[in-house]
Amino acid sequence: MQPMETYQILVPIVALAFWAYTIFQFIKGRSSIVELLFWSLFWLLTIALALFPDSITDRLARWLGMKSNINALVFLALGILFFLQFRLYFLIKRQNSIISELVRKLALKEDEKDEA
């Protein structure tokens, strides 16, 4: 068995900390079961990738039909980043629209109070 590289120790520790934080958020009722499952899968995959980088990325490259495992990994990482960016974009848009609605309701309510 090959000796472990430093990142193979650091990445799982950091990922485990984030996973624990995800579980804590779920227990506190600040995230949904879907979010818990998504992030649990994400952190477990990160740990697996750090522990078995070659075997996983080689399999991924074969599955995606790419010659290099580095290309496959970059492709997958970009896909995940775009997905998260897209999700964030919608979340911000929604928050903005909720804030405007709230500001509008407040303004109209204040006016009703003045009128009464």
Binding site: I99, S100, R104, A107, D111
Partner: protein, 231 residues
């Protein structure tokens, strides 16, 4: 007082930091016989709200700045809540001539349209900066692609609405992109649109406040979000 025929007409003025213009604008609107005037103060940092109140306008105030689209929607909701039969929006920076309000209402009262847009390009004597002409052309094209309705001044802030349009208009965008969204949604709701020529006066100040290239980018992104992804 409002002349009796204007009793059911609300003039809505979305305003942000317009203390220097609001008094003269309110006077000019009154001279045209309109007394029901609503200022939607979009969290101005100057005395816009106080001056407007002192000059007899009704003022509703956003606690934080949300943009001209959000302020216009607040005006629409006010008109809806208070059962106004007609509503006219006009810019707060004195670029429009309140004399044109009557022209818009006259067109609306013919009964064959629900939304009348004041068109700045239908008059030959308006001086419109070239940048605005180009921007407006691009915005018209974008609006046409989404709505399949050709309107030659989609970005005009002067509009008149009848009760049907007041009831059905729900703007989702907060910034200047609301102008395009309004035209597109009017089409989706089968509101009938007409345009009438209006005067416009551009000052250095109003040119700075208006729309630019970045607004165009925002318009595209917001329209894409509003009209394609949310429906």
């Amino acid at each position: 007082m409002n002349s009796p025929k204007h009793d059911n007409t609300l003039i809505v003025i979305p305003a942000y930091n317009e203390a220097t213009h609001i008094e003269s604008l309110l006077k000019k609107i009154r001279q045209q016989g309109f007394d029901r005037i609503l200022i939607v103060d979009d969290a101005s940092e100057d005395d816009t709200a106080a001056i407007a109140r002192a000059n007899g306008a009704r003022v509703i105030r956003h606690v934080i700045n949300r943009g001209p689209g959000a302020a216009t929607q607040s005006g629409i909701e006010y008109a809806r809540m208070h059962n106004y039969a007609r509503m006219v929006t006009i810019d707060a920076d004195n670029q429009h001539d309140p004399e044109d309000i009557a022209k818009l209402l006259e067109r609306l009262d013919r009964g064959d349209v629900d939304l009348v847009i004041g068109n700045r390009f239908m008059r030959g004597d308006n001086f419109i900066p070239r940048s605005r002409v180009i921007y407006n052309g691009i915005a018209n094209l974008i609006t046409f692609l989404f709505s399949r309705h050709w309107i030659s001044d989609t970005q005009s802030g002067m509009k008149a609405l009848n009760r049907k349009a007041i009831e059905n208009t729900q703007l989702g965008t907060d910034g200047f992109e609301f102008c395009s969204e309004w035209v597109i949604k009017a089409g989706l709701m089968h509101l009938r649109i007409a345009e009438v020529p209006i005067k416009v006066y551009y000052t250095e100040e109003s040119r700075k406040k208006g729309q630019g290239f970045l607004t165009g980018i925002r318009t595209l992104s917001s329209l894409f979000h509003q009209l394609l992804l949310r429906h």
